[in-house]
Amino acid sequence: MTPRLDDYQGKLLAEVIEGRFGLAFNGVRQDILASRLETRLRTLHLQDFMEYYQYLRAHPDREAEFSELTRRLTNNETYFFREPQHFEVITRHVLPQLSLQRGARPLRVLSAGCSSGEEPYSLVIALQNAGLELGGITWEIDACDLNRDRLEQAREGIYEPNSLRACEDEVRRRYFTESAGRFTLRPRHRKGVNFFEANLANAVTGMGWPTYDAILCRNVLIYFNEPTFFAVIARFARALAPGGYLLLGHSESLIDKVPEFVPELVEGVVVYRRTGEL
């Protein structure tokens, strides 16, 4: 039976997690937390979440457990061509807008919180389908996530059917090979993607990022508490070229929150443009 995470235990765990990662787990998100940590309780032979909290606070092996924790805290709910309008915005709007600024260099995009790679690979497919290769346009896509296991899966490019739930049969056949109920993305659609481990909440992570033309960070910021949220946005502002685009999930907004970004409505989608000279 699943141990119950009551409000008190949830608050204690949330404090530990927030202190460590800047991730906010309040209210309804405690349910998510409980379901994700259930296996850790079993593995560590702990009876309830109070014991798990004490483990994180005092056990000599707690550092290793924090690494395990990161793998479970991030939302891995992702699939190919999720909110596909964002990819159209990049191919039909961002690229033409930035063509002068970009010159002959590749388009540079960051997929922040990329999980197992569905987002950056969807972007590659969208760029290829837009015929950009024929026009001599190349791209470099950096993709980072906190979860090492997910990144490993991203590099392998092998997916369960759930990751392809927005793909019709024709799309599955065209971009994937199927074996034993799993789908392997064809090598041609993995071109130009560089995966790396990073905690967006950690200031050190942001150092050395190049200047991007666009950053996709969808359904990630909802997990951050307010100070971390603004710190991450400031890091994005530094990492984006002036005039560059930040694309967030549909439930996330920067409107009237930070001066570094101004909202723009593009093809029915709200995107955020980095202020400053082009």
Partner: protein, 353 residues
């Protein structure tokens, strides 16, 4: 389809064959998971084991498990060996519901060179409480693979007689810490004459298992462990001290409240918190002033424990303190105080302001 099957089992009886042929695999799966199948419909479920969708095949395994008809053992064994991970899990669960004396078909799996097959077969033996393979299981507790040993010890734990206790106690010296902890937990669950005595002997050894031994003694409510736990408290590391406090709270020996009260002065906040938790668990009428002190703590978890303690006491004198705590700056504390007041009045928490 699942809610429909559960709500209207009789009305759907005649439609089950058609639903199992539905083009949508979700309908086939839902029908298998919730359909009111009878023994004479076994062939429908067995046919579903050949479905192209692995999730439907897994659902068929679950459905066959519900009927627990030995005629399904062979096809379930095939899914256990050849299926996807969800099919294997479902097949193990289904086979585990079969009568233990008809599981001879597991013998080749228990002799298999594939560890996952051996582990799966052991899980079936454990759940079915089959006695057909006792000799083989006792061989497998010495297997080089720790996963196999762990699974074998879990089977030993459900065996009858005095021998399993000896086998599990020996497992405390296993080379793999995971196996040691598994054995320890199995011993706690199973109990036995020698367990506490052995654990007390092991308590003196400085090993990574000691934390788990302390916890086990607490779960066993081993009063004879109290002097040793108290005497080693000051020399232990923080995580062991936390375990000792928790164990002593479970054992609840005479004088425990004074021990816990002293811990409230500890310089480490975790010690203070776990001591306050214990005070709230064991509080008596005489401890009311102590709870009032805790309500004034700067550390919100201590105030929360004060609320728990006051709620447990159920004294009229607790009400003013709880009313004060309703307005606590920490919402979790205020919410707990509201709930405690409502329970004292016999009404829902929301009615208390």
């Amino acid at each position: 389809i699942e809610p429909l099957c559960r709500r209207h089992p009789q009305a759907l009886d005649a439609a089950l064959p058609a639903l199992l042929k539905d083009a949508d695999s979700r309908v086939r799966r839902g029908t298998l998971l919730a359909g009111p199948f009878r023994s004479d419909q076994l062939h429908f479920m067995q046919a579903a084991l050949l479905d192209p969708d692995p999730e439907v095949r897994a659902a068929a395994c679950w459905a066959l498990g519900n009927l627990a008809d030995p005629a399904s053992i062979q096809p379930l064994l095939e899914r256990l060996q050849l299926g996807t991970s969800s099919e294997r899990a479902a097949a193990v669960a289904a086979l585990g519901r079969m009568p233990g004396e008809v599981l001879q078909g597991l013998e080749p799996l228990l002799a298999s060179t594939a560890p996952e097959h051996v582990v799966a077969a052991l899980e079936v033996v454990e759940h079915a409480k089959s006695r057909l393979f006792d000799t083989r299981v006792l061989e497998l507790v010495k297997d080089p693979g720790s996963k196999i040993r762990r699974a074998a010890f879990r089977v030993v734990a459900v065996m009858d007689g005095p021998r399993p206790e000896i086998v599990l106690l020996r497992a405390l010296a296993d080379s793999d810490e995971g196996v040691q902890v598994e054995a320890l937990n199995l011993l706690v669950r199973r109990g036995g004459e020698l367990v506490v005595k052995t654990l007390l002997a092991l308590l003196g050894t400085d090993s990574s298992l000691r934390t788990n031994i302390i916890r086990a003694l607490g779960r066993l409510r081993a009063a004879e462990a109290t002097p040793m736990l108290e005497s080693m408290f000051t020399s232990c590391q923080l995580h062991e001290r936390i375990e000792i406090i928790s164990a002593l709270v479970r054992i609840a020996p005479p004088g425990i409240m004074r021990f816990l009260r002293d811990r409230l002065q500890d310089r480490d906040s975790e010690i203070r918190r776990v001591a306050a938790h214990g005070i709230a668990d064991l509080v008596g009428v005489d401890d009311f002033p102590l709870l009032l002190e805790l309500t004034e703590s700067a550390d919100w978890p201590l105030r929360h424990e004060a609320v728990r303690g006051l709620a447990r006491l159920k004294l009229p004198a607790c009400r003013p303190a709880l009313l004060e705590l309703v307005r606590d700056l920490e919402p979790v504390v205020g919410q707990a105080a509201r709930k405690a007041l409502a329970e004292a009045q016999g009404g829902p928490a929301a009615t208390v302001r």
